[in-house]
């Protein structure tokens, strides 16, 4: 009994310690500069490996999500005789919610887990301590460009997700279900506002990008330097960052829309 209480206490203390380490990692790696700091080229290389290589999954997923939204929406709206609102429904759903959230979730699975495994393996093979010995700060060299690459890539991916989704919705609604395409596009253009819907969606996506990459690099940097530890850290990244994205989505929406 006593040992159970003791282990519960240790778990609590360790969790708070780990949050503290994550905060310190963020504070030390968010800015550029210092000995052996990563340059602009490293940022480009990281955008390539987390952003460009996630493109295919984002585009395919976006197209299918847009198509299924249009199909479901059509079947519901047709009962109320307001099929002309379909374009508005598809575009607002994608821009405000599904674009940022789905892009961040797919990013966590596709790029976040890879980041954790990469940094974890660097730690296990003592590349990070080798850098320290050479006087290079591994946080500035390894973590900083990855963190910023995530912040830059996720909004772009979310935007592409929404764009492809809206065109996928148009494909189903106009070409397959025979909706008049003027109704789809012009009602959308009348209702969607650039700042309220597009820009706020992008702000959300940037925050998600930051949080997902932060969790991924922290899990890699903090993992036990064994193959089991790397595997565990990779799983943790996907689980924690998915939950963080969904939870933050509600908070950000409440803050932006107000009224809660």
């Amino acid at each position: 009994m006593v040992s159970q209480i003791r282990s519960l206490g240790r778990y609590g203390v360790e969790s708070i310690q780990s949050i503290g380490r994550a905060g310190m990692l963020f504070a030390q790696s968010v800015t550029w500069g210092g000995p052996g700091s990563a340059g602009f080229r490293d940022l480009i290389r990281q955008i390539y490996s987390v952003g460009v290589r996630s493109l295919s999954i984002i585009i395919v997923a976006g197209f299918f999500v847009g198509m299924v939204l249009a199909l479901q929406g059509y079947n519901i709206l047709v009962k109320f005789g307001s099929v002309s609102a379909l374009g508005t429904m598809v575009s607002l759903t994608l821009l405000r919610e599904l674009g940022p959230v789905m892009a961040a979730l797919l990013f966590a699975g596709r790029a976040g887990s890879a980041l954790t495994a990469e940094i974890g393996l660097m730690k296990a093979t003592e590349q990070l301590s080798a850098m320290e010995m050479m006087g290079v700060d591994p946080l500035k060299r390894v973590v900083t460009p990855r963190l910023w690459a995530g912040v830059i890539s996720v909004p772009v991916l979310a935007l592409l997700f929404s764009t492809v989704g809206i065109w996928g919705g148009a494909f189903v609604a106009v070409d397959l279900l025979g909706l008049y395409d003027g109704a789809y596009w012009s009602n959308m253009a009348n209702t969607v506002t650039f700042y309220e819907d597009v820009v706020k969606g992008l702000i959300k996506a940037s925050v998600f990008g930051l949080v997902v990459t932060w969790i991924a690099v922290y899990q890699g940097y903090d993992s036990a330097p064994t193959s089991e530890g790397i595997g565990k850290a990779t799983t943790q990244t996907v689980v924690i960052s998915s939950l963080a994205v969904l939870g933050l989505d509600f908070v950000l929406t409440a803050v932006m829309l107000g009224g809660v």
């Binding site: 290389r45 935007l159 959308m188 253009a189 009348n190 506002t193 650039f194 597009v198």
Partner: protein, 153 residues
């Protein structure tokens, strides 16, 4: 992978993002480039706006000729004042007895202002008031009136 190819791919990625943003701005959210075009302001008082909002369309015979730029309450008249921006080429056809009505697009659609040209020979100028106005039809009032008529009859 060669660094040049990486740079090319990342450049392409960012360009795709910018193209998507431009599509979002102009195709999806309907921002228009004609903001710099010459517009004239007209004002009208309405008893009830019934859900008309800023940026709503102003149309003539179904053609959009402008938009609602500002809505405020006139404290002397206890009426809503709507300021509209009208495109300069549509402005030349509006006579002084033009009337404005708040209409609904479809059964449950959004509210817009419909202008109907009158018969006077003089034309409206920038900043003029439209005196002939018709308020939005509020369903609750209609239903209330209908029940009142039933009760009396």
């Amino acid at each position: 992978m060669q660094m040049r190819n990486v740079e090319l791919m990342v450049g392409g990625f960012m360009v795709m993002g910018i193209i998507a943003l431009v599509l979002m701005a102009f195709r999806v959210s309907g921002l228009s480039m004609e903001a710099g075009g010459e517009t004239y302001t007209l004002k009208a008082r309405f008893e009830n706006l019934g859900g008309l909002t800023e940026r709503a369309k102003v149309s003539m015979s179904g053609v959009t000729v402008g938009k609602v730029s500002r809505i405020y309450l006139d404290k002397e008249w206890y009426m809503a004042v709507v300021e509209m921006e009208i495109d300069s080429n549509a402005m030349a056809t509006l006579s002084t007895d033009t009337s404005a009505a708040i209409l609904t697009a479809g059964l449950l659609g959004e509210k817009y202002i419909g202008l109907t040209v009158g018969a006077e020979a003089d034309y409206l100028a920038d900043g003029d008031w439209i005196h002939e106005t018709q308020s939005a039809i509020v369903l609750e009032e209609l239903i209330g009136r209908f029940f009142l008529d039933k009760a009396e009859g």
